[in-house]
Amino acid sequence: MDSNHIPRTLPRQSATFDPHTMAEIRRAAATGIYDIRGAGTKRVLPHFDDLLFLGASISRYPLEGYREKCATDVWLGTRFAKKPIHLKIPITIAGMSFGALSAQAKEALGRGASIAGTSTTTGDGGMTPEERGQSKTLIYQYLPSRYGMNPDDLRKADAIEVVIGQGAKPGGGGMLLGQKISDRVAQMRNLPKGIDQRSACRHPDWTGPDDLEIKIEELREITDWEKPIYVKVGATRPYYDVALAVKSGADVVVLDGMQGGTAATQEVFIEHVGLPILAAIRPAVQALQDLGMHRKVQLIVSGGIRNGADVAKALALGADAVAIGTAALVALGDNDPIHEEEYRKLGTTAGAYDDWQDGRDPAGITTQDPELAARLDPVSAGRRLANYLSVLALEAQTIARACGKSHLHNLEPEDLVALTIEAAAMARVPLAGTDWIPGQLKF
């Protein structure tokens, strides 16, 4: 055999030890500390893209696209609150803190949501006057840290959201790193400037659903039973968590899947704890139905909502509304390729920038640096968000009309099929072209 002509085996990268994994091992070995970043999970997951609407044909009757009404409004907090919330569209802005975001970004979220006729939400760090002033409907988060929590703001809010957890880190607290602690952030949180601010993972004055019931009652007493009380949970055991939130007296349950973003959390936590939202909606709806509370206690779902199809699919699976966070930031200008040169200086690229904890955001959104923050014009950014919200609503309406629905809430699981067995099992809709729903036995 001619030894010069032996075919050579091509170099082969390991699927297990891929370049990203090996780079992370080297980074860990060099620093001795886990990776912290912002945003939600980046792995491939069963998601709304794995579902399709069937649309109308002979057996179903569609509605005329530009002629026949397809309503989009939603009432939230009708169970106990004297002043429930009425939104024009079932797409809300998720809780994000002043501290994690600049004051300009918070103002832009308020402006965009108000133009679109929906609500925005405070975060860990309290309510800013800019945000309250620009938000027609503002949800005030009640978090374990209670940073900036005070009864005046509680009374100014349109609803109160008791945060138990979030999809990016169910069971975890938070950490706002010192570089984002400006004088104003420090003052609002009663802490020295420049130190890392930990947010607790449990509430300081209650433990478990029996206590939560008493806590919710206290919040109602303080606000004279006017405000809807939301309870937000990260998606882990949605059937039981939603049932317990209802038992505790929630008006609205917010369920956040692992695609939901965070300002700063360990990468290992973001990628390995919690459920994708697709797997969480049906058990949550099942809990509400079993208690006879579906549509009486409203369900808001979040985590990876990107377009009107996602909105329509979430609603078809039984949600009353959705919330967006990451997508709203993108609409404001986050990760825009216009800043590519600066992203490269930070060792990343547009679309992949997730070091939100560092406060060096070229788009001026996830920062407290006055010069960077000044890059974001709250008025034009708010307009972009409003435009985007309109598109989400229009797209969802387009699909709903095609399915013959005169209201987005009339969408139902029967309108859906799944492209994969996994999605069929999680969403409890049949695999396309079959009548098979994995996990549901038929005899």
Partner: protein
């Protein structure tokens, strides 16, 4: 004096009446009879009035208080004066867990003992406990002052920030990043002032207290401190 008898009037009605008080109200003295341990009594007040609760209170009594003076003549349940902003809350009996949790201001006085997590995450409140306090008290305490005439349980001041802790008796153990500090004249002065405000006058010798606070080693995360978490 306005008297509300909870044997015939609901808690809701009591809180409605208290919330309706204007800043210049002349109904400045209220007495709540037959509280029977009900939760959320006198919560969310925002007027310079005095409310006496003639018995035991349940969870979150005087929660988020502003301006008002609330006196509990019996014991108080979980989270008394939680998130208080200003004013004064005086418990004549014992207090359960999380007394004064996250409170931003005002003065909380407990004549008896306070259970676990007293002053957890406190944010500026002053707390005087004439008895002893339970474990994990002043956990993540941010600012304000906690004075204990008796003893403190395990893990006092764990992950403390800038709050000041003074204990006259023993401390079973200190939490992570909490250390004993020198008791200087300025601290003695603060002690005298707060003890006086708590109605103890000059009866207590402030030299008997030890001061505890943050060693500030965990203020910025460093991998070499990972074992401390």
């Amino acid at each position: 004096m306005s008297v509300v008898d909870l044997a015939v009037t609901s808690r809701r009605e009591l809180n409605i009446q208290l919330h309706a008080l204007a800043p210049n109200t002349n109904q400045t003295h209220w007495r709540v009879e037959n509280p029977n341990g009900q939760h959320s009594l006198a919560v969310g007040l925002d007027a310079p009035v005095t409310v006496e609760i003639a018995g035991h209170a349940g969870y979150y009594c005087a929660g988020m208080n502003k301006q008002a003076t609330v006196v509990v003549e019996g014991n108080a349940g979980v989270g008394v004066a939680e998130n208080m902003i200003s004013g004064m809350v005086h418990v004549k009996g014992d207090a359960s867990q999380a007394a004064g949790a996250t409170a931003h201001g005002g003065l909380l006085v407990i004549d008896g003992d306070a259970s676990a997590r007293c002053g957890i995450s406190m944010k500026g409140v002053n707390i005087v406990v004439k008895g002893s306090i339970g474990p994990m008290s002043a956990f993540m305490a941010q600012s304000g002052t906690l004075i204990v005439l008796g003893d403190a349980g395990d893990a006092l001041g764990d992950s403390i920030y800038e709050a000041r802790l003074f204990v006259r008796g023993s401390v079973k153990s200190l939490g992570t990043d909490c250390v004993e500090k020198t008791l200087r004249e300025e601290h003695k002065e603060e002690l005298r002032e707060l003890l006086n405000a708590a109605g103890l006058g000059d009866a207590i010798n402030v030299d008997e207290f030890k001061r505890y606070g943050s060693s500030r080693k965990l203020y910025n995360f460093h991998v070499d401190n990972a074992a401390a978490y």
